[in-house]
């Protein structure tokens, strides 16, 4: 029993470290993309069209003879940038609404939650598709669409913790010494919701990477020629028989990133909620 628990704890640590390692690697590649990229990701070279991996093109070249490795690196930068900004949008928007709903309660809360639950009743990707249909495919469009689509999840989490926090003594103390409602909310309530928000934000980073690549795969995400993992898969589709490596590598990048995020997310959750340790 003890040996087993110990073994599972160690497996957990290894998973957490591995996840953290993968996520850090992806973040670093994204941050350093312009400097570590062996070639210009937009440089067209028709003589190398659909070239298999070879000298000069370590992972081959795409349908315009552009270097796949350089495009994967640039794609990491695109995906990570979009994901980080989107998560920030969703977290800021969601926390703002969540704190108001949880703190004010009553009719404000009820109205906000009706709207919020209706947004939750709209699957995230579908809402994003609807918004992209109206505004057209663009980087900022994805950020707005996915930020809006995922903020209701943050609203739920923040509202839940605010409801429990607002009854504590230190909140009452803040009110008694004459702090305004807004100061109490922002200075004392909000910082104490950060832990659950951090957990959701970690998972959300993965959802956004996946959703963005799906949108780009459908041709409604990052517009070409800018590379993103999703639109690389989309443009490689007609060449699947001649150049399977064009399908292989972008998908591996997405999978590896999501694997890292999921393992890290599990670790963050276990760390925050020891009762859940080893549950899922």
């Amino acid at each position: 029993m003890i040996a087993q628990t110990f073994r599972s704890l160690r497996a957990l640590r290894i998973n957490a470290l591995l996840g953290l390692g993968i996520v850090l690697l992806v973040l670093m590649v994204a941050a350093l993309a312009p400097w570590i990229s062996p070639m210009d990701p937009l440089q067209i070279n028709l003589r190398a069209r659909l070239a298999p991996p070879q000298e000069g093109f370590p992972l081959g070249a795409d349908e315009f003879g552009r270097d796949v490795l350089s495009r994967l690196i640039a794609g990491a930068r695109t995906s990570v940038t979009i994901a980080l900004i989107t998560v920030c949008v969703a977290v800021v928007l969601g926390s703002f609404i969540g704190v108001i709903a949880g703190y004010r309660r009553g009719w404000t809360d009820r109205l906000l939650m009706i709207v919020n639950d209706s947004m939750l009743a709209f699957p995230g990707l579908l809402l994003a598709l609807g918004i992209m249909a109206v505004f057209g495919a663009s980087r900022n469009g994805i950020i707005v669409a996915l930020g809006l689509a995922y903020s209701p999840v943050v609203v739920r989490v923040v509202r839940g913790s605010v409801m429990s926090i607002r009854e504590r003594e230190y909140i009452e103390a803040s009110r008694v010494i004459g702090n305004s409602e807004w100061v109490t909310m922002l200075r004392h309530v909000l910082p104490n919701c950060l832990a659950p928000v951090l957990m959701v934000a970690t998972m959300m980073f993965g959802w956004v990477i996946l959703a963005e690549s799906a949108l780009s795969f459908l041709g409604l995400g990052v517009p070409p020629p800018a590379p993103s993992w999703g639109n690389m898969l989309n443009t490689a589709r007609p060449h699947i028989a001649q150049a399977p490596q064009l399908i292989l590598f972008p998908g591996l990048c997405i999978t590896l990133t999501l694997l890292g995020v999921n393992m890290l997310g599990d670790a963050v959750r276990d760390w925050m909620d020891p009762k859940m340790e080893g549950m899922a």
Binding site: Q4, T5, M119, A121, F122, L125, I240, G251, A280
Partner: protein
């Protein structure tokens, strides 16, 4: 029970109203005049004005919404700009295609993932458990469209076992339809396996810690009886909610799968209509999926008391 039913039905109502408002606002924000779009490029200004008033576009927005919502309630979702077909029969027709695949995939995923999750829970922290959990985490990390493309590459192009593209309805030719659907269904099953298995595992572990399981064991029941008679029902209830959510969200995410395997379903119709700027069809698809999403969640909640004896309305 009746009160619970009515209450739950009543709470779904505001959700539907807000969802319809969202679709309405989204579609009214499209650049361009819907009346001019309906008539095409050659329309005279007079015709456009007549069309505008016929469509009610010259009235205030709240009135426009009410007219629109009234039409939707009567099943009138307008006509496709591209083909002139009525939207409702068109999307229902395409929906049948998607629904068949999604239902089969979710049923199979449940049949595989729930026992796998329970097995992992019963063998917690042993090799079986670590294997199942790792497989589940991997399944949650692979994008469906990539897995689908890899299937096409491997089974379709290299091994040549399965047709790469195409679709036939099950009603017309069962075996052909089955071979065409094999890869899309397998893709969805593998993608959804992870979430369901992890949920089943987590809720089984939670239930297995409760006293009544210890009591059942102490009574001398066999492990098989403890699992199936006592643990399964309580452990399955939370998973059931998740399955409902997955069923509903797959209807939204199916656009990706249908693009990979070129299946003429609702998702592909939505994407094609977005490209063609065929907004009445886009609007119809959005409304149908949102409505189904609400309906499925409602259904899941209503079935819940039957599954979990602790929830008695």
């Amino acid at each position: 029970m009746v009160r619970f039913l009515l209450l739950r039905l009543f709470t779904a109502l505001p959700t539907l109203i807000v969802v319809s408002l969202m679709v309405f606002v989204l579609m009214r924000n499209i650049p361009g005049d819907p009346a001019a779009m309906m008539l095409g490029d050659l329309a005279e200004p007079g015709q456009v004005a007549a069309m505008r008033s016929a469509m009610g576009l010259d009235r205030p927005l709240p009135v426009q919404y009410l007219i629109w919502a009234g039409n939707v309630l009567q099943g009138d979702l307008g006509r496709s700009i591209a083909t002139g077909q009525a939207v409702l029969p068109l999307i229902l027709d395409r929906f049948q295609v998607s629904a068949t695949i999604v239902l089969v995939a979710v049923a199979l995923a449940t049949l595989i993932a729930v026992p796998a999750g329970m097995l992992a829970a019963w063998r917690q922290d042993r090799a079986t458990d670590i294997g199942i959990v790792s497989a589940a985490t991997l399944s949650m990390s692979i994008p469906s469209f990539w897995l689908g493309l890899m299937f096409i590459l491997f089974f379709g192009l290299w091994l040549g076992w399965l047709p790469v593209v195409g679709y036939t309805s099950f009603a017309r030719d069962f075996w052909a339809a089955a071979t065409y659907s094999l890869m899309p269904v397998a893709t969805m099953v593998l993608i959804e396996f992870g979430a369901i298995a992890r949920m089943a595992r987590a809720s089984t572990i939670e239930v297995a810690r409760l006293d009544y399981i210890t009591h059942a064991r102490a009574k001398g029941l066999s492990e098989r009886q403890v699992i199936w008679r006592h643990a399964f029902r309580n452990a399955f209830a939370p998973t059931w909610t998740l399955i409902g959510l997955i069923l509903a969200s797959l209807l939204a995410n199916i656009a990706v799968i249908e693009t990979v395997f070129t299946i003429p379903g609702l998702g592909r119709l939505l994407i094609d209509s977005i490209y063609a700027r065929d907004y009445p069809v886009v609007q119809g698809c959005l409304l149908l999926v949102a409505f189904l999403y609400v309906a499925i969640n409602l259904l899941v909640d209503l079935v819940y008391p039957l599954l979990d004896p602790r929830v008695t309305a």
